[in-house]
């Protein structure tokens, strides 16, 4: 499973990034196990001082995920989807990776030629449609027996 992010792969996430990982008990049903076992993984890092993310991406993340940032400026990601702590941690890291990828991706610049081609295509489709409609209409007209 090759890392899908255009951002450089996960080495930087664990080694350079100062991520604070903490575990606590998950919510939901599950009896004694959910009451006692620490399976929820929470990862937090200070967004403004995260130098492993480019500046522009940091701004974008701050605006996109403002609900996940607390007053101290830390971006919090948590996961309690799996029964295993390790897997929840992996899910958290994956979420962070996707967030950073989304923030770093540049919006696709559609070149002038492509936009023009698309407009031409639409116009051509409409012309063809009207032509076919006219042909069909002529056929139907030719079947009319108008005795005058």
């Amino acid at each position: 499973m090759a890392p899908r992010s255009s951002f450089s792969p996960g080495t930087t996430i664990t080694k350079r990034a100062r991520l604070t990982v903490s575990y606590c008990r998950s919510s939901g049903p599950g009896g004694q196990r959910v009451n006692k076992v620490n399976t929820k993984a929470e990862v937090r890092f200070h967004l403004a001082s995260a130098d492993w993310i480019p500046e522009a991406a940091r701004q974008k993340m701050a605006s996109m995920h403002r609900n996940k940032i607390n007053r101290a400026g830390e971006l919090i990601v948590n996961s309690e989807e799996s029964r295993y702590q390790m897997r929840n941690l992996a899910i958290c890291l994956e979420k962070i990776r996707t967030m950073v990828t989304e923030a770093t991706e540049k919006p696709e610049v559609v070149s002038k030629e492509t936009t023009q081609k698309l407009i031409e295509r639409v116009e051509k489709m409409n012309r063809e449609r009207l032509r076919q409609k006219k042909i069909h209409s002529d056929i139907k007209q030719s079947r009319k027996a108008d005795f005058d």
Partner: protein, 262 residues
């Protein structure tokens, strides 16, 4: 108020059989009969859920929790490479080669509690299980044993008493070659450099620092691997083990040597 007793052995009076009818007279119809209505087991149409079940490969699950339990109790020695033979001797798992069992698979149950550095060899392992073992500084390998080799592996003493030479382990069938040549599954036929890469990838994915096993004191033990044609660690195919005289006989004829070393 006490219950009125019928007396006698087996209960007495009606003997727990009820009053008249087929019940008392022991003439009830066969199991599944519904009085003439099409019974449930015939009304439901057939579907191939169990089709080919006798040809499907089964792997006995071994959870990490069970493995930790065995190590803690001292039934399995983590200072030696852990093999199916070790597990069977410790009665940790029971494998039935005759029931289409092809070995043991590692299951994630107990991944959070696992903390033992082991060199383990199983037949299948899930990703999280591999990650947990490598996080604790161990080594996982998946290898294939054909049914005959598996029987020999599970019950070595019985095999040695037969007096036959140890056969060479067969290579996996077509469907499994792809599985065992993949570094992500830590297959025994995979490229070692790719296995190293896969270890790093898993460490990145699960967010732990991969401990360097080359600097470990048990490195020679952890890197001990079997040859693809070898069944037991110290023994090569073609040798005969004599339990009574406690001797090992090795073939000397060059044709035999050529066959067994191929």
């Amino acid at each position: 108020k006490e219950r009125r007793r019928g007396r006698g052995r087996y209960g007495g009076r009606k003997c727990g059989r009820g009053h008249k009818g087929e019940r008392q007279r022991g003439n009830r119809p066969r199991l599944g009969f519904e009085g003439g209505q099409t019974p449930f087991y015939l009304a439901i149409p057939k579907y191939g859920f169990n089709e080919g079940h006798s040809l499907r490969r089964q792997y006995q699950p071994l959870s990490l929790q069970r493995l930790q339990y065995l190590i803690d109790l001292g039934r399995v020695d983590p200072t030696q490479p852990i093999d199916l033979t070790q597990l069977t001797n410790a009665r940790g798992v029971t494998v039935q080669p005759l029931k289409r069992d092809y070995g043991v698979q590692l299951v994630e149950e107990g991944a959070d509690i696992f903390s033992a550095k082991v060199n383990i060899e199983v037949q299948r392992a899930s990703e999280l299980a591999i990650a947990t073992i490598e996080k604790n500084g161990g080594v996982v390998t998946t290898s294939f044993y054909d049914p005959r080799s598996l029987e020999i592996l599970c019950k070595p003493v019985v095999f040695f008493l037969r007096g036959q030479p140890i056969p060479k382990r067969m290579l996996p069938p077509e469907e499994l070659v792809r599985y065992y040549t993949d570094a992500r599954n830590r297959g025994y036929l995979a490229d070692p450099s790719k296995v190293a890469e896969a270890r790093l990838e898993l460490a990145k994915k699960y967010g732990y620092v991969l401990p360097d096993i080359t600097k470990d004191e048990l490195f020679t033990m952890l890197s001990a691997r079997k040859d693809p044609r070898q069944i037991f660690f110290g023994l090569a195919p073609g040798w005969i083990v004599n339990m009574a005289d406690k001797k090992i006989l090795k073939p000397t004829d060059e044709r035999l040597l050529k066959y067994y070393s191929s």
